[in-house]
């Protein structure tokens, strides 16, 4: 069971986690990325490539599902403007045992940072700026290969 959602709406954690709690799923791992409220950003804007984004997220999810025999995997990514503390992304993975769920969750969030066409722009008191890619993210994504 793979669920991919790219949406301008807030992410509902309870609903998304409950969705992956399918039969046989003894372990559920999840990750939520949020707009940090402590670095002067008043608004974060997420731009994406419609169509390619969903396909890229689905490819990440399918690869994880096959590699860790997942019972379910969900990736929800928000787009558009959002404020400090709001959720940008949620990954939830369900497997028979915990290590598969935990590893698959870490894999999905690492890979989507490099494999899915999203771009972040931060609005700060000093103006707006496009977020630069972090070298550590690229490295972490390739570490899974």
């Amino acid at each position: 069971m793979i669920r991919i959602l790219v949406t301008p709406d807030p992410i509902d954690v309870a609903t998304e986690v409950a969705r992956v709690e399918v039969e046989g799923a003894g372990g559920i791992a999840s990750f939520i990325g949020r707009v940090r409220a402590d670095d002067g950003v008043s608004t974060l804007e997420l731009e994406h490539y419609p169509g390619m984004t969903e396909a890229a997220l689905e490819a990440v999810a399918r690869t994880a599902a096959a590699r860790w025999s997942l019972a379910a995997v969900t990736i929800v990514h928000r787009v558009g403007p959002m404020g400090p503390g709001e959720r940008i992304v949620l990954v939830a993975t369900a497997a028979a045992h915990r290590q598969a769920a935990l590893d698959a969750c870490a894999y999905c969030i690492d890979r989507l940072k490099t494999d899915a066409p999203f771009w972040k722009r931060e609005v700060t008191p000093e103006g707006t700026r496009w977020v630069e890619v972090r070298a550590a993210d690229a490295q972490r994504a390739t570490d899974w290969a």
Binding site: E47, V89, K113, P117
Partner: protein, 85 residues
């Protein structure tokens, strides 16, 4: 052969549009050559494409390196490295 060009993030902002239809000559065979050809067409394209190391591309919605062939492509996107998640 007309190609739908898509631009995202600051590439879109510098060029001033998110999409345009182009019809490059037959000798433009790779994404990199297409970028050169577009850069020669206007100052804004030239500005957006000034530093190749900051550009990434997708052909028909699949990431490709800049030396990838464009034969048969219907949609080509040029954008900065992605920063989602």
């Amino acid at each position: 052969m007309a190609i739908e060009m898509l631009y995202f993030a600051w590439v879109r902002e510098v060029i001033g549009t998110g999409h345009e239809r182009v019809d490059p000559p037959a000798e433009v065979e790779t994404v990199g050559a297409l970028i050169d050809w577009l850069a020669a067409s206007s100052d804004t394209h030239a500005a957006a494409f000034e530093n190749r190391e900051r550009l990434r591309a997708a052909v028909d919605q699949a990431f490709v390196p800049l030396d990838a062939a464009i034969a048969g492509a219907r949609e080509i996107a040029i954008f900065p490295p992605v920063t989602g998640g």
